[in-house]
């Protein structure tokens, strides 16, 4: 894409009421727009990052064998009354609205109820199980405070996966596979090393749930991390009993601030029972299905990457997540030959299937570099009169910081 064609501009300052690092950097770089507290819109560069993250998540969900759906945001009160989750006294972050006939509807903060209900039309026999279903869809949560940028939005894109099994054993097998899929997702998203499997409070149907917590000062959670065992324990279940049951020695634990970038949970029959989602086994006996749920906030994941990797005036996106792979910067200063070369390089990169943002704007070099630092594309190619004379381009892998003067074909070979 030509940068002259991108409508967004970078800016020196974020809105005054923005206090989170992630939103500040993303607004300044033109990735997102703040509509209201906790409500953000995604601009072209930001949308591309969201699509990259959604693409990674989708691939790992498909690898798990999950079916993809897209459920409605508007929620049927009746279903949520059956599970006891309609009341604002029980769920304190509902957004509710009304149909023209005066009846109430909710805006989904999660989708256990509608999906459980829907599956009744399709799954009845043990032969149909196990089944897993996911979506990447917009959730609404009426947060009292929303000061964490896209880490905690009132409206946000979420991947929610639900599993349905015959029995605990079948459930546990899927649960373990889902855990592995999550590890792959964070690795691919570039925050694998900082993200720890964390034991958190379970419920009626399991002693623990599992969270994936990413170390960063911006985190709202506190975890106790055991680097040797590579597991963490959420503060909420940090008791001597729990430490003992996990075989963890207190002296190996380090306290860290962290952001919950995913959580997985055994639901048991919490929803299948009240909503009547059952299957018939080999003997003709009827049982409620055993369910699990597995969430990742896509916006929160993007915000976490910024919290971990963002600097004062600069960002370097991980390769798989970056809005473009390469930033091609032409410093022509009116030199027609440099302009022509840069255009040719742009076409060559595109033909090689490399996603490239081409800064073809008539701006001073300093402005272009400041923009490029903020936008954070990990590979940079600079073409100028100087590089033209040398018959090379200036190439930088920004993660490594060193700069090479090599031929454009060599760069393409490295990147393709």
């Amino acid at each position: 894409m030509k940068q002259s064609h991108l409508f967004t501009k970078t800016r020196f300052e974020a809105p005054k009421d923005e206090v989170s690092k992630n939103a500040e950097l993303l607004i300044r770089a033109g990735f997102i727009h703040k509509d209201m507290a906790g409500v953000y819109s995604y601009l072209p560069l930001g949308l591309r990052v969201m699509n990259k993250l959604s693409g990674i998540i989708r691939e790992e969900m498909y690898a798990l064998g999950a079916n993809e759906v897209s459920l409605a945001a508007l929620q049927n009160k009746e279903l949520w009354e059956k599970t006891g989750r309609w009341s604002d006294d029980v769920v304190d972050n509902w957004f509710k609205t009304e149909f023209k006939n005066g009846s109430e509807a909710g805006l989904g903060f999660s989708h256990e109820e509608p999906l459980t209900n829907l599956l009744k039309d399709h799954i009845r026999s043990y032969k149909d199980l196990p089944v897993s279903v996911f979506q990447i869809q917009t959730k609404f949560r009426n947060e009292v405070r929303a000061k964490s940028g896209i880490l905690r939005g009132r409206e946000f894109l979420m991947k929610d996966l639900y599993s349905f099994a015959r029995d605990q054993k079948e459930h546990d097998e899927f649960y373990e596979k889902a855990k592995e899929a999550y590890v792959k997702i964070y690795n691919r998203a570039g925050i694998g090393e900082k993200t720890h499997l964390t034991f958190a409070s379970g419920g009626v149907f399991s002693k623990y749930s599992h969270e994936f917590q990413t170390e960063t000062e911006a985190g709202e959670d506190t975890i106790h991390f055991d680097a040797k065992k590579n597991i963490a324990i959420n503060k909420e279940v940090f008791t001597d009993d729990v430490l003992e049951s996990l075989g963890v020695d207190k002296k190996n634990l380090v306290e860290k601030k962290a952001i919950e970038v995913g959580n997985i949970f055994t639901l048991g029959t919490r929803f299948s029972e009240p909503l009547g989602l059952t299957y018939t086994d080999e003997k003709g006996e009827v049982h409620p299905m055993i369910m699990g749920c597995y969430g990742i906030g896509v916006g929160r994941l993007m915000g976490t990457i910024v919290e971990v990797l963002g600097e004062e005036d600069a960002m370097v996106w991980p390769d798989e997540v970056s809005p473009f792979k390469v930033h091609l910067i032409s410093i022509a200063n009116g030199d027609a030959d440099v302009e022509k070369d840069a255009k040719e390089a742009y076409e060559k990169l595109k033909q090689a299937g490399i996603e490239v943002l081409f800064d073809d704007r008539e701006l001073r070099a300093g402005e272009k570099f400041a923009d490029a630092d903020l936008i954070g594309i990990p590979h940079r190619i600079v073409m100028s009169k100087k590089t033209r004379e040398a018959g090379t381009v200036e190439y930088q892998d920004r993660k490594k910081k060193e700069t090479k003067n090599i031929g454009i074909d060599e760069v393409i070979e490295t990147l393709a």
Copy 2:
């Protein structure tokens, strides 16, 4: 994808309260689920169709040079008050909700206000114009009646494109290109021949707006179609004056029922003026931008295709829209050789990059064919003991109805 792995099942009957042909067929085929009146969820096959349609639309929007964004559904009351569209007396299909602090928010039925406001942060000079921005995003409309299935949902996916120009001439040029893009979209979606450019009522800033109306008995609109001139006139502007201004002779007109599958509209300064979206021209003078809006409901488009092409118990999706290109049906009846051959053919098709749904289920042939007719994949390959003995497969292009017995490699060559 293996059909044994798809969780949805076809069914004999749609819910009793469903009266529209599109929703009946799509529910029976397992493409969608009805959550409430006018509220539908998309199941794997239906989501694939929506993604195909979104893909076509996205390509044509990019070809127009438009930037893609994704704006928030939650709407800031202040902005809509500035344009006079907040009141329920002015806009009768708002869904409204409340933040925890008691302040109101709307759920976007359209996005002129937030986008116009957002552009103020990015576009200031004539050098930045023209600009066009689109999104494919969920809209909410609180319809009093919702009996048309996914033709008129209370929550639906919509492509909305907005253009911003310096002056009327620049606007008109883009408007004409957008018109052409729309024609391409309907052609690719397989309903081009039945879809007519239609003159409809304009507003303060233009005499007409333009609709794209698809002929079908399910249509809620009435158009007067001139086949020779290949234009239509919406009933709402069907006057002698209009006929004269368009040079249309009444006796060439045929009255038809039709569905509005798209509309394009000159907005002038209706939104840029109250919201203060201006640019500075070459002389340093400040002007409000000239805007246009261009909508296509993706769900409505899908529903229209079903209304036009759907039959009692069968559907044939257009090639570019179908959830899969090929339906491979194995009639093994326990024959291990046929099963093995079918699996090999499945792998071959996938390797050739052909999207294939592989009916590997242990069901009677009649059930498989009934399902395949409902699901509506346009190319069908049947493999059985009989075809195995002949060393061929049975291939049918369902649009043509004739069946050929040819080798699998030949089928792949035809389709790839």
